[in-house]
Subunit: 215 residues, 3 copies
């Protein structure tokens, strides 16, 4: 039992960290939605606009991360272990960075043909962000521990699917793509998308450890 | 002196963490042995079977890691610092992941010609896993601190050798491999193998810090 | 307020960690200077000598990191949080590794034509190291908190510039470099240089968190 779990019976409900984490994970859903929309439209002007939205949402995420770190420095007592707050904030920040990084590579490398595995990975990222948001909303009172645990299991399974999609796509590039420069471009984009699902799994791991310690 | 080192005189000998770490590092030796065997046989059917064994052993490793995290959440008093237990478990898990990742890339990219530097790196990984296992067995009573220290020194030297093998192999690819797609394939495989030795060094660093704090 | 900040009024001024961090960050400036000089000379023999100097300075950095870890293990009371000392030492060590890694790739891949973005990135790394050194010198008494904060803001901006230089250079490689092997070589070198500025940002983040906790 941690010091925090002893203290939490005496202190008023946290009004600082939970709202920030909820805001942060809602922002990730928006990022995931914009990414899926951008990669499924054929309209290149619209795609460009959506990439700009993703850039703005990534900045919003940066500000929320900064606020969480600020609250962490100002508050001695936190609703769960300090290192878990720090790890969760960093994990959510990394997800936003990788979603943004994937979009900006596609834009910068002037890749206009969006292949099926790229779309699949984007859809998996969005699903994982939705599950993260659902789990984070249950952190407040930990009454529905089952919902958090189920979300984490699903995120782990999503990451496994993403691994499979990535590995299959890269091995197909090696088999069929004779233009090495194009191969590298696509490999880089697939890799950034797959990394985003790894970051979702990292966040789920933090949630699981919070669960076991506090529930 | 850490709180744990004060406490350890009053608590019964740990029966939870040491057996799990010993099991985990023995599992890494098996992974290393299967890898070396797979990359030294010319029989492609046998190699495929060994890759399957590696996949199974990686799952075994995942379960052990999970058990260590579970014990960490349940126990307030631990045989050495909580963050070092966490770091050691994660480092061992990463080694298993990279061994498995190397094998699965070779399989997936349909690389059948195993070059000398690939075999050398696999052999270095196995040596590092054997040294880790030896050091971890000495953690229980810390009577033979010298054995742990020597293993860590050897692992650091193994990692340096792996760096050298990797750098040399990649620069030779750049010089002699005119097929860029093939070059990328081999570079990816060499890189996964070299990363595995980096992870062994990370684990050795954790062991060294446990040593200095508790011996 | 951390335990350390309570203790620090009762303990003599730290004479161990501050001198080591100052030495470590001064060593990073030397590494940055050698890198800039190596990449701006046309004299290949002189460049080779400078690469050798970089290797030696990287070893010096390793020794300083080792000493910091040793002091950390021996001292129960530290001038700021133990985990921040550990994180700062690791971040500075990573910077040295990436500067050395960039130089050694250029050497090993026999890349003799140093392009403008490579020079720009080297110059950005040097600037970030100078700012880190300036900030670390102010850690001792925390009287000029503004100087630390300003350095951190500049390092963040330097990292953003490096991102931009890297992304632009890679997308230009994709557009104009038809030799895939050459493209991969340059991408690897640019990537190692850009990673070095990421590591500078990590170090700045640690400094910022020390600031908020202790100032």
């Amino acid at each position: 039992m941690s010091l925090n779990s002893i203290f939490q019976y005496f202190i008023p409900k946290d009004k600082k960290f939970f709202p920030l984490f909820e805001k942060d994970s809602a922002n990730l859903i928006s990022l995931g939605e914009k990414l899926v929309e951008a990669l499924n439209t054929e309209d290149l002007t619209r795609r460009k606009e959506l990439f700009k939205d993703i850039e703005d949402l990534e900045h919003t995420g940066d500000e929320i991360t900064h606020q969480i770190h600020l609250e962490l420095s100002k508050n001695f007592i936190t609703p769960f272990d300090r290192e878990d707050i720090h790890r969760l904030a960093s994990a959510l920040d990394d997800i936003a960075d990788y979603i943004h990084g994937s979009a900006s590579r596609i834009d910068l490398y002037q890749v206009t043909e969006i292949t099926p595995p790229i779309k699949e990975l984007a859809s998996l990222i969005l699903q994982a962000c939705q599950d993260l948001n659902k789990a984070i909303h249950e952190l407040r009172d930990l009454k529905n521990v089952r919902i958090i645990a189920d979300s984490c299991v699903r995120i782990n399974s999503i990451e496994n699917q993403a691994d499979y999609v990535f590995d299959k796509a890269v091995s197909e590039l090696f088999m069929y793509e004779k233009d090495a420069v194009k191969l590298i471009k696509y490999k880089e984009i697939l890799s950034a998308l797959e990394d985003a699902t790894d970051m979702c799994e990292d966040a789920a791991n933090v949630l699981e450890s919070i669960l076991v310690k506090n529930a």
